[in-house]
């Protein structure tokens, strides 16, 4: 098991390099001579732009910048090749030393920025996942048991619709209805943006109020995805020999379904949930944008548009690590729920 994990991690190293290098190169080619954070300011002198650019080390060759970002810059300096690095560089990165550097936009450490946003994103996605799983499992089971019936058709229709409705559109509609219109009608209404109220906020109820709409939109997606999965998995499981064996032992239908069949049917769902881990970065992005949810997705989106190299690279690394970890987690979870699976 340990060997297996180690092997997977070693295999992930070239992947991480590939991901960061591609992002880095793409960003440099697209950014051109743009200095992150600078605006169209009539008082800005060309000399200022050149100076700031040089201070950030952005005038060096791209590959040198990448090596510096990796932290090889420091090593180069030690072996006397520091000249290659040129210019001053106050980005202060060294990913190999665990240093993600500081944002080029606001100078705060990238790691801090990501960690600050992480709880919000986790709050949103975890709620949606729990909500999605909690609803999709019974829905899928009921659909499978009533296969072909009215109830099944209705539930299937809802989940298919959940696949087809654009999330941003649904989000807008919910804001329209539950924030704006409900408020106008003097009904209890929901806040339309943010994770907490600025004044007197942060309490459990306050957080919940803010969480409801974005979590529901996201959960709707999971729900439609997973309920169909559970349904087909359950249908398949119910037709398997061991279910017949269970029945032949004289157990009640309820026990057969909920102990023997369900346990097998939802085992693969666990891996699906594991694979949602990378979704922390981009899965909820559009929802975070629509609801102004201060999560990682929103940060990623905003910073990419501002060419905040260090932050984007930090998030890219983080995301790639999540992908690797998510896949590994999914496999591990599968081994937990299905004793037949063993890794060596």
């Amino acid at each position: 098991m340990v060997g297996y994990v180690a092997r997977r991690l070693i295999m992930a190293i070239p992947v991480l390099f590939g991901v960061t290098l591609i992002t880095f190169l793409l960003m440099h080619f697209t950014a051109g001579s743009y200095v992150p954070g600078l605006q169209l300011d009539p008082n800005l002198k060309p000399s200022d732009i050149a100076r700031i650019r040089s201070n950030l080390g952005l005038d060096r060759p791209v590959l040198v910048q990448y090596l510096d970002w990796l932290g090889i810059g420091a090593i180069l300096q030690q072996v006397g090749l520091g000249g290659l690095l040129g210019g001053g560089h106050n980005i202060d990165t060294g990913i190999l030393e665990g240093n993600f550097g500081r944002s080029l936009i606001d100078g705060t450490p990238v790691l801090t920025a990501v960690l600050e946003r992480l709880p919000n994103t986790i709050e949103l996605t975890a709620t949606a996942i729990v909500l999605g799983a909690a609803v999709s499992i019974p829905v899928g089971v009921v659909s499978a048991l009533r296969r072909g019936g009215r109830l099944d058709q209705g539930l299937t229709a809802i989940s298919v619709a959940g696949f087809a409705v654009p999330q941003f559109w649904l989000g807008l509609m919910l804001i329209l209805l539950f924030s704006v219109t409900f408020h106008a009608w003097h009904l209890p209404w929901l806040p339309s943006s943010g994770a907490t109220s600025p004044i007197g906020g942060g309490g459990l109820l306050d957080r919940l109020e803010h969480l409801v709409m974005p979590a529901v939109v996201l959960a709707f997606f999971y729900l439609s995805n997973w309920s169909r999965f559970v349904r087909s998995s359950m249908v398949e499981t119910l037709s398997q020999d061991f279910v017949r064996t269970a029945r032949s032992k004289g157990m009640t239908e309820r026990r057969t379904v909920y102990v023997h069949a369900l346990r097998n049917a939802i085992a693969p769902l666990v891996t699906l949930v594991g694979l949602e881990l990378p979704g922390l970065v981009s899965g909820a992005l559009i929802i975070e944008v629509v609801f102004g949810w201060p999560g990682i997705g929103l940060l990623a989106f905003q910073r990419a548009l501002q060419f905040d190299f260090t932050t984007v690279m930090g998030i890219t690394t983080f995301a790639a690590v999540l992908v690797v970890a998510g896949n590994l987690l999914a496999d591990m979870l599968y081994a937990v729920v299905d004793p037949r699976v063993r890794y060596a």
């Binding site: 060997g3 180690a6 092997r7 070693i10 060596a344």
Partner: protein, 342 residues
């Protein structure tokens, strides 16, 4: 099959008096990979040093229980699985030393019929296309018309209505599919056919049809069979000689009747006694040898004689020494056992 185009002879010094197939020390191991670098930490000893020879025109049966390596042996001979070591002389040429194109040419001489007639036919091809494929591969039909005629003829030979050439495998019953598989094998006009459990997946009432067909074809085309099966009754009916395999090794080989009457290896004896005979009078009073336990893992075969862990005659020596196949030798009858059954 007079119309079949003349087949170019493989260059060899082989003469018909010698065995058509001679297998020496054939070994096929599959690595068990583990660890960070996926190094092979152990091997499945699927086939472990098998010597075998098949004479022209005979049927050699290869029996054993699941996992004994009989299917791997059959496929290793045809290089459908790459053997780890050994030599396979077919008409005097070592197949394991052939290059890719030589090997492909050789495939006109040898064919294989598979166990599961459904799995071994491409579901997206019509039966006609399936049977014609070997002709296309080896360029055995000069034109479309010839190709069509040959397919029709082949289908007729295996007892199928040639009018059904446009149908798909799923439209046929198991027995009919197996006939298609046989027709495909015959298309290249081979001299040697490996029959890999060709009747095990069929219903009792269909089995006989295929067995009879195989027998008839052998006479008609002077074929040599290596017949792999787990059912000793079928093998005994069909084969001239029988080799019994256990855990990657051949433990006994003898003429069909000889083996049945005088099994020397305890494994053969117990195998024979375990097979139910459809006659209550005999069956109820048979003396059965019930083996204990299961077949050991082929990754770590037992030391000495591989059967000793389940053997009712095992002694100290069996664990120390590995009996070679000629430990017991009565003419053609050979067995790898120090304490053979009397």
């Amino acid at each position: 099959m007079a119309e079949a185009p003349a087949r170019p002879q493989l260059r060899s010094v082989w003469t018909a008096a010698e065995p058509i197939l001679e297998v020496r020390g054939l070994t096929t191991w599959f690595p068990v990979r583990q660890g960070v670098l996926q190094r092979a930490v152990a091997h499945v000893h699927a086939v472990d040093g098998v010597d075998l020879s098949v004479r022209q025109g005979e049927t050699l049966g290869l029996v054993g229980e699941s996992g004994c390596g009989k299917t791997t042996l059959g496929r290793s001979i045809l290089r459908l699985v790459e053997p780890t070591a050994g030599e396979v002389f077919f008409k005097g040429r070592d197949l394991l030393k052939l290059s890719g194109s030589e090997l492909r040419r050789m495939r006109r001489e040898v064919a294989i019929v598979f166990q599961d007639p459904y799995a071994s036919l491409d579901p997206r091809q019509t039966v006609g296309e399936i049977v014609a494929e070997p002709l296309d591969i080896h360029g055995l039909a000069a034109n479309r018309k010839q190709r069509h005629q040959r397919v029709q003829e082949l289908l007729r030979v295996v007892g199928l209505n040639p009018g059904m050439a446009g149908r798909y495998p799923h439209e046929f019953s198991g027995g009919q599919r197996q006939r298609v598989g046989i027709a495909r094998a015959l298309a290249v006009d081979p001299t040697f056919i490996v029959c890999d459990e060709p009747v095990s997946a069929l219903d009792v009432s269909i089995q006989a049809q295929i067995i009879n067909l195989l027998q008839r074809l052998q006479k008609e085309f002077n074929l040599t069979y290596l017949f792999v099966a787990h059912d000793l009754s079928v093998v005994r009916h069909l084969c001239d000689r029988i080799a019994v395999m256990y855990l990657g090794r051949i433990v006994e080989i003898a003429g069909s009747n000889e083996l049945h009457r005088r099994p020397k290896h305890p494994y053969t004896a117990s195998l024979l006694s375990a097979i139910p005979i459809p006659d209550p009078k005999i069956e109820r009073h048979r003396q059965r040898i019930i083996l204990t336990g299961d077949v050991p893992s082929p990754v770590n075969p037992p030391s000495g004689c591989r059967f000793r862990t389940r053997c009712f005659k095992a002694q100290e020596k069996c664990a120390q020494e590995d009996p070679p196949l000629d430990t017991v030798q009565l003419g053609d009858h050979r067995a790898a056992c120090f304490f053979p059954v009397e």
